[in-house]
């Protein structure tokens, strides 16, 4: 797993229309992205595919 670089993040941001990034803000975004990757990967995966998410949606009671 490689880390996000500023260059890769600038390309990603541009692809999704983020137009106001200064060099300092791009740096902040890259830092965030790397923290998010690490945190997301550390979330335990449920063993069974039948372990559904905690929904907020349901039928009428």
């Amino acid at each position: 797993m490689t880390e996000w670089t500023n260059e890769a993040m600038a390309e990603f941001a541009a692809r999704y229309g983020l137009t106001w990034l200064t060099p300092a803000l791009l740096e902040q975004l890259t830092d965030c992205a790397n923290r998010v990757v690490a945190t997301g990967r550390a979330v335990p995966r449920m063993a069974s595919e039948y372990d559904e998410p905690a929904h907020v949606f349901g039928g009428p009671e």
């Binding site: 996000w4 993040m9 990603f12 941001a13 999704y16 229309g17 983020l18 106001w20 990034l21 200064t22 803000l25 902040q28 975004l29 965030c32 992205a33 923290r35 998010v36 990757v37 945190t39 997301g40 990967r41 550390a42 979330v43 335990p44 995966r45 449920m46 372990d51 559904e52 998410p53 905690a54 929904h55 907020v56 009671e61």
Partner: protein, 477 residues
Amino acid sequence: MDALTLPTGTLTDLSVTAAARLIASRKLSPIDLVDAFLDRIAAVDERVKSYILVLADDARAAACVADAEIRAGRWRGPLHGIPYGVKDNYDTAGIRTCAASRVLLDRIPAFDATAIVRLRAAGAILLGKLNTWEYGTGNGGVYFDLPFEPARNPWHLDHLTGGSSTGAGASVAAGTAMFALGSDTGGSIRLPAAACGLQGIKPSYGLVSRYGILPNCYSLDAAGPLCWTAEDAATVLEALAGHDPNDPASAERPFTPYARGIGGGVAGLVVGVIRDAAIEGATIDAANAAGIEDMIRVLEAQGARIVDASLPAPFADYRRVTSVINWGESFSIHEKDFMERGAEMGFALREKMMSGFTLRAADYIAALRHRRELAAGIDALVNSVDVLVLPGALHTAPAFTDDAEVIKNFTGQSTMSVFNVSGHPAMSVCTGFDAKGLPSNGQIVGRWWDEATVLRVAHTYETATAWRARKPEIAQS
């Protein structure tokens, strides 16, 4: 900076409960009470910065109406004529609601949040919109980059209030509001309550409508009061609770009135105690550790049975799940603002939005799946006792001049978010003061929908201790 000096014996010292009795018996006019709070705001809020918008004329007009109604024998109940403040992420019709953001400075909602509607129906009088971290959220840091200066801790003006309901915490402690409404996604009611020495309750998810509160994270957000006493919190929560069809998460279930049974004591209750939440890298302050031990001693002396308990999963699991869900949902809610005006946001909000911008859907769903498991574990634990008692914030409020990590640790090294993940009612209560005079805190957690027992335990502890007799010192002006 000097601590504030609060004159004793003033109307702003009264609890909601005490003021309500005086108003009901016509010994106190809401006009005098509102004027006392507006005077206090004028005298101290330039320093405390609890409000970002004061509605003095509206409040005086509402007080005149309340006074006339009560004189005519139409007393509505214990909140009639009681002045309060609301975090500026609650929509108020025709009144700017900007959540302390440069991005929303021109935002004037067309309708009132359900909580505002309910409090108005109960006769409460809105004094103004309270300071907050931007959009009612943050990363625990304070960056002095918002259009309003941060609220100050009335116990020591150089210290944090805790967030994100910063003004809510500051106002009740400084006597600029009799009670305040906050919102709580990962501790934002309970952390300011902890820092400012208040009693603040995050109710069960779905008990209090969030409709008209600027959403932060749909599946973690809760709304509730910060008060000086547990009894006040019970009174306010009674007015707020109940089904709202405009909030998809609002529960359709009756609730037990809270204030009536609050004096029932704790004899026979089983209190599970978590002394060490095992937050990695964190050591609880001596004052906060002593506060928990004091609470245990008092509850045991009052007849509760104390049993040891521990969190069923590593603390880091709850934190990760909260972060990932929060990033993803917040970004989905505020995507347009971020994409168009993210550069105008403060550092903390922008960081959160950036995190959501880069989050993978698979990680978000994994967090939602794991959340169900974590919540079930907490539910089993809470159901094995009557309430849990554990440290809330591990530290007393840091100073603005402290190292950035120390400041962020006030939020990060707390157990509050565990009960946003699980949805259980959780209340921060004052357990004393450290050597600097800053409040310590403990957290009481109850079974789903059992706010009544949480409030009863809090009230029992509160009335057996002397902490409520101590107020911040506010210089006479």
